[in-house]
């Protein structure tokens, strides 16, 4: 009888102890160690570089990066704001880089009179930049044939 009582008490204590242990460790999820009822700190929104000089390429086939902000520049079937400066008809006046000849080719390598539909949506390849540190370490180095280093 006595033995049975002690076993029950020990079992209860063990359960209680186990319970406390679970409570002590906060749930870890993708949002970090912040409890679900707590607000996690918000990273400050990065701002796009407003207007810089063209950015050097890092590898041969790299689509050039956009050195300026493109907020509210619409690209849809009716119009393409980028083309109001970068098209072949407008680049001289605006002083912008013109789109390359490859942009006039369709997938059968036929050269069209206007920008090809598969190259029309500029931001699929060309992206504006923010001044941000890389999230993971990156040791990529451009080759000398691009940088001109000896």
């Amino acid at each position: 009888m006595m033995m049975k009582k002690i076993t029950i008490i020990l079992a209860l204590l063990a359960t209680a102890g186990f319970g406390t242990q679970v409570n002590a460790e906060p749930v870890k999820s993708l949002r970090g160690a912040t409890d679900i009822d707590q607000d996690s700190s918000v990273a400050a929104a990065k701002k796009y570089n407003k207007d810089n000089m063209p950015i050097e390429r890092d590898y041969v086939q790299q689509p050039p990066l956009i050195p300026h902000q493109i907020k509210n520049y619409r690209i849809n079937i009716k119009s393409n704001k980028c083309m109001s400066c970068h098209s072949w008809s407008n680049y001289r006046k605006s002083g912008a880089t013109k789109i390359s000849q490859t942009h006039f080719e369709n997938r059968d390598e036929q050269v069209l009179a206007n920008v090809s539909a598969r190259r029309y949506f500029c931001t699929q390849c060309h992206v504006p930049q923010v001044d941000a540190e890389p999230l993971v370490e990156n040791v990529f180095q451009p080759v000398d044939s691009i940088t001109g280093a000896k």
Partner: protein, 209 residues
């Protein structure tokens, strides 16, 4: 002669009113007439301007679904609706002149818009999209004609500090100023979506695929 005239006037009500107005007043003093005339002048003039201002705000503009469902929704995503400092340019700030006589001329032109409201010319999204290029061209032409007068109510070349502007803006603005350009030459589609630009600038639209 006078018999002939009054005979004519028996048939025409306007003529009889004119006869009445031509006669000098016999029962009211000049002072009374002046004071009554002055006061009713103020009331009519004030009433006219009040009525004009009532039709000159965003709330009135978007009381038509053609405006609220199309152009207003597009405008809500642009810098003239929401921006850093919270200064807004509402519909009439850009589309109705500030100076009185230009404003009255524009208000008279707006009777054409009332006609098309009644006819239902753009009462669906499809109809509106179909007319978008025509409508946009009207606004561009008006802006070109007035040297973008409504833009310049707030934006003035002479007070622009080019050193505060971006590289691209400095180039475009200084060259534009020299070439006698006007705001709308470059700043099309800043508050509403552009129409199909293939006809206007073939290089900046995909056109027929």
């Amino acid at each position: 002669m006078s018999n002939k005239k009054s005979k004519e006037c028996n048939d025409m009500i306007l003529c009889r009113i004119w006869q009445l107005l031509k006669k000098p007043s016999v029962s009211y003093s000049l002072g009374t007439l002046l004071i009554v005339g002055f006061i009713s002048g103020i009331i009519f003039w004030g009433g006219f301007n009040t009525a004009m201002e009532m039709t000159n705000n965003e709330e009135f503009c978007i009381s038509c679904h053609e405006m609220e469902d199309n152009v207003y929704q597009e405008y809500k995503e642009t810098i003239h609706y929401s921006n850093r400092t919270g200064v807004r340019a509402t519909c009439p700030d850009c589309h109705v002149p500030k100076e009185w006589h230009h404003k009255v001329v524009r208000k008279i032109q707006a009777s054409n818009e009332l006609l098309h409201k009644a006819l239902g010319t753009i009462d669906t999204r499809e109809k509106f999209e179909g007319k978008r290029l025509t409508l946009a061209k009207h606004v561009w032409e008006a802006m070109e004609k007035t040297d973008s007068r409504e833009c310049r109510n707030c934006h003035n070349f002479e007070f622009m500090d080019f050193t505060e502007q971006g590289r691209r803006a400095v180039k475009a603005h200084s060259e534009g100023l020299d070439a006698g350009g006007t705001c709308i030459d470059c700043h099309k589609g800043i508050a509403h979506e552009l129409p199909d630009m293939h006809e206007v600038d073939p290089g900046s639209s995909i056109g027929d695929i």
